[in-house]
Symmetry: C2
Subunit: 240 residues, 2 copies
Amino acid sequence: MKARYDVIYRDIRESIETGAYPYQAFLPSEAELTAAFECSHNTIRRALGLLRDQGYVQPVHGKGVRVIYREPERTTFTVGGIESFREADARTHLGAQTEVVTLEQIVATPEVSFDTGFEEGTELTHIERVRRVGGEGLILDRNLFRTSAVPGITEEIARTSVYDYAERELGVTIATSKRAITVERAVERDRELLDLGDIDYLAVITSQTFDAQGILIECTQSRHRPDHFCFRDTAVRQRV
Amino acid sequence: MKARYDVIYRDIRESIETGAYPYQAFLPSEAELTAAFECSHNTIRRALGLLRDQGYVQPVHGKGVRVIYREPERTTFTVGGIESFREADARTHLGAQTEVVTLEQIVATPEVSFDTGFEEGTELTHIERVRRVGGEGLILDRNLFRTSAVPGITEEIARTSVYDYAERELGVTIATSKRAITVERAVERDRELLDLGDIDYLAVITSQTFDAQGILIECTQSRHRPDHFCFRDTAVRQRV
DNA sequence: GCCGATTTGTCCGTATGTATC
DNA sequence: CGATACATACGGACAAATCGG
């Protein structure tokens, strides 16, 4: 992304994360930023809007833009935004491994259609993968990809990153993802594939992913052992 | 909020939710919308940006703006994502009751400060509340309000809605909320106050809330019995 | 309490780039 | 290639909130 507003957003975000603009400090005014980045008022505003939406700053009308970001702890496996397991792994440096348990072609039955939102009869690629950190099975991912959108998935691709393959090789762009987080009791299959010990509940993320065309291309269930699960989120007030 | 872009956003959202623009359909082009709403290109774009961020539509470059919203399925969940307990209760008509267990003034110790982000020595109002549905204790809410921002909380207020009190009586506006969802083992206190049976894990939402000034005014831990917990979310891909 | 300077919030009109068909 | 539609960017104008004198 080479858009000006995005470059500016990243630049300021960097300054906040490194502490150049500390918690509770005010950023330079929009006028100053406009001069500093040599761009228009609107472009600065767009960058500031991103910072606000991502929970970095809180603009205060008539006063300035206050920093509300503080360094999060990096202890557990955090989920947020749309990032693939591989990206999260790279970010946290936990050295995770992926084992492909299932890789098969299926056709959406009425029941699958109801659960996932795929039209009945759609050809789907079904994948089950176990994510291991330090040899321990922590996460069970169960994906259903629309085969016509993401064809030719091999075990090798499934073991590395389906997202990379889809984005780079096929030119598919992931755009929007709808998720629900629930906590469910572990079932037989979970015990079989994960290292649960006496743990009998899992954090479950169920998500639907749409591509840049607005077409549903993937449904996923990601079942996490609770002691390595953390979901972070920033919500901005809905003005009523 | 009477901003034009917000009115337009709500108008189009309404049309989507009622099915006037069905799933997978394209909205009228920006030019047509500009004419229809008699406003500028930028204002329409801002409204469309909101619709995109909230997961209603997916703009497709060079083609149009596609609807990706579908009526959420009514399954087993009770407590939804962004809404407060009271709002969720009103929506689901479950007839929930709130019992105030604790209401006291405390001062932030170093440990509390570390856990919550309040400055050491800050005067805080500590509240513990149990949310019951059908007599069953399902949720334990533990709040720490900055007393100077939200003074004079009575048991009556705690039983109904601190949020209403803060907004209406005190003019405090909640602006940004940072949340983390984890799954934790139930502790003694949870068993004491909630009806857990043989359940020994809880869904825990830990949140920090900032007012319109960017000041931290509240930290909350909301501990949910997992069989009545669901968190919903829509994420937009960060283009890299 | 009022006024003026500063700062953010909203909106407009226009121009240009880029993707789709 | 041209027409259409979304994406980005600019510059200007005015409103609204804050703060200090």
